[in-house]
């Protein structure tokens, strides 16, 4: 027990990076994906094709490969391009990758919206912007909630991949201790931290769903 207590602070030190990557990815990817998914509805064909290409590449290649390309590969390919710190390149990679997944989730949420909603809005003289923001997007987000929660749980676990580009986070810190002490207890602490983190994410989404249901019942 004293061993576990002695190694926990160092392992938890890495959680700052884990949480940073998670938070930055969500804060940037979610709004970006909402905008791209809704604008792609009525975008010109070349734009739609470009977006399809982007989501295909991002979802069709491993995140670990994308991390290597952006953090190590791009500075070699593009003279003058560099990421001062690998963490910036890693966050950029996560944003690009997860935006693609979120776009597809939101597009799925959009497809389930009855086309009659657009027609009703038009005949009620609601502008295109207000139709998107007050009628379509709220429904799109509600329809996408379940798939979003799954993707956020994946994001929690994927944050451990930043270790391959030399960034210290919770998993890498545990590995260092494991290599130093030749004991695996550190991994159990990491597992507990990830379980707690994913538990919190699940509870947040449950609270959002409950809030949406409460809005319907309490008024």
């Amino acid at each position: 027990m004293s061993y576990l207590l002695s190694i926990t602070p160092y392992i938890l030190e890495g959680f700052k990076t884990t949480f940073l990557v998670f938070a930055v990815t969500l804060l940037v990817s979610l709004p970006l994906a909402i905008i791209l998914a809704t604008t792609s509805l009525h975008a010109p064909r070349p734009v739609k094709r470009l977006l399809s290409l982007y989501t295909w590449v991002m979802r069709g290649t491993p995140l670990i490969l994308q991390l290597y390309v952006i953090v190590f590969g791009l500075p070699l390919l593009i003279p003058g391009f560099f990421t001062r710190q690998a963490i910036i390149g890693a966050c950029l990679t996560f944003i690009l990758n997860y935006t693609a997944y979120f776009i597809e989730i939101f597009k799925g949420g959009l497809i389930t919206i009855d086309p009659g909603q657009w027609e009703a809005a038009s005949t009620l003289h609601i502008s295109r912007f207000n139709t998107y923001s007050r009628i379509i997007m709220p429904q799109m987000i509600r329809n996408s909630l379940y798939a979003l929660s799954n993707e956020c749980i994946s994001l929690v676990k994927d944050t451990s991949l930043v270790t391959v580009v030399g960034i210290g986070e919770i998993f890498r810190n545990a590995k260092e201790i494991m290599n130093r002490d030749l004991k695996i207890q550190a991994l159990f602490i990491v597992a507990i931290v990830y379980l707690l983190f994913t538990f919190i994410v699940i509870q947040v989404f449950k609270a959002i769903e409950a809030r949406l249901r409460m809005e319907r019942k309490s008024l």
């Binding site: 009855d114 009659g116 909603q117 027609e119 009703a120 038009s122 005949t123 009620l124 003289h125 609601i126 502008s127 207000n130 007050r134 009628i135 709220p138 429904q139 509600r142 319907r216 008024l219």
Partner: protein, 226 residues
């Protein structure tokens, strides 16, 4: 008044409306009859600016909605459809908004006075015996209640012309009669009603004029007024 002149509409290379011309006068209760696929819904969609004809002219209350060979701005077209309200077959209520918000959304977004909008909405809900359901959501309503919310919502914008696109086809006889009674009352107060239906009996019972479509144009135009 609604005027369509020499309107042609094609959907995916299939002609739907061919050289259709008709006019509907203020205060008329007109039923548009015809079998499925003849262009009845297309007709109301053209009038409500949901789709655009390839040729022809459409005027509403002497304002052009569509002019042959003249490109009209979205603003001009939207302005021409201001007198028009529409009720859809599935009612198309906004599922994420309660009944009151379904009614008040459009006027509030158009910057009308919120207190007045709320008062108007609550009055309409009272008229349609829906006061107790103002905070309910569409999926908590019966079919008849949803139908009345759809009517109330369209009336919030004070339309002069109400287009009803097969809104009675999924209703049981009692709800249908209730719905038609509301339309008759609105017509008595001066509203122009255009009812799309494939139900001959319904049209004969309630409408004062029946326009029958066939092959994309008017086949019969019968006044039922004595």
């Amino acid at each position: 008044m609604i005027e369509l002149n020499h309107v042609f509409y094609t959907y995916q290379k299939t002609p739907v409306l061919s050289n259709l011309s008709l006019s509907i006068n203020p205060g008329e209760f007109t039923a548009i009859l015809g079998p499925s696929g003849v262009g009845k819904s297309t007709l109301v969609r053209l009038i409500s600016n949901l789709i655009t004809p390839q040729q022809g002219t459409i005027r509403i209350n002497n304002r052009y909605l569509i002019q042959s060979d003249v490109l009209m701005s979205k603003k001009e077209r939207r302005s021409a459809t201001e007198p028009i309200g529409m009720i859809f077959q599935n009612f198309n209520l906004f599922p994420h908004l309660n009944v009151l918000n379904n009614l008040t959304l459009s006027p509030n977004l158009n910057h009308e006075d919120r207190n007045e909008v709320n008062k108007r909405a609550l009055k309409l809900l009272e008229d349609f015996q829906l006061s107790e359901k103002s905070m309910a959501f569409p999926d908590e309503l019966s079919g008849g209640q949803r139908q009345r919310v759809a009517i109330a919502r369209s009336l919030m914008l004070n339309p002069e012309i109400l287009l009803i696109d097969e809104a009675t086809s999924a209703l049981d006889p009692e709800r249908k009669a209730e719905f038609m009674a509301i339309l008759q009352e609105l017509n008595r107060k001066g509203m122009t009603i255009v009812l799309i239906t494939h139900d001959h009996d319904l049209a004969k019972t309630y409408a004062r004029r029946i326009i029958t479509l066939a092959s994309g144009s008017v086949l019969h135009d019968t006044s039922l007024e004595s």
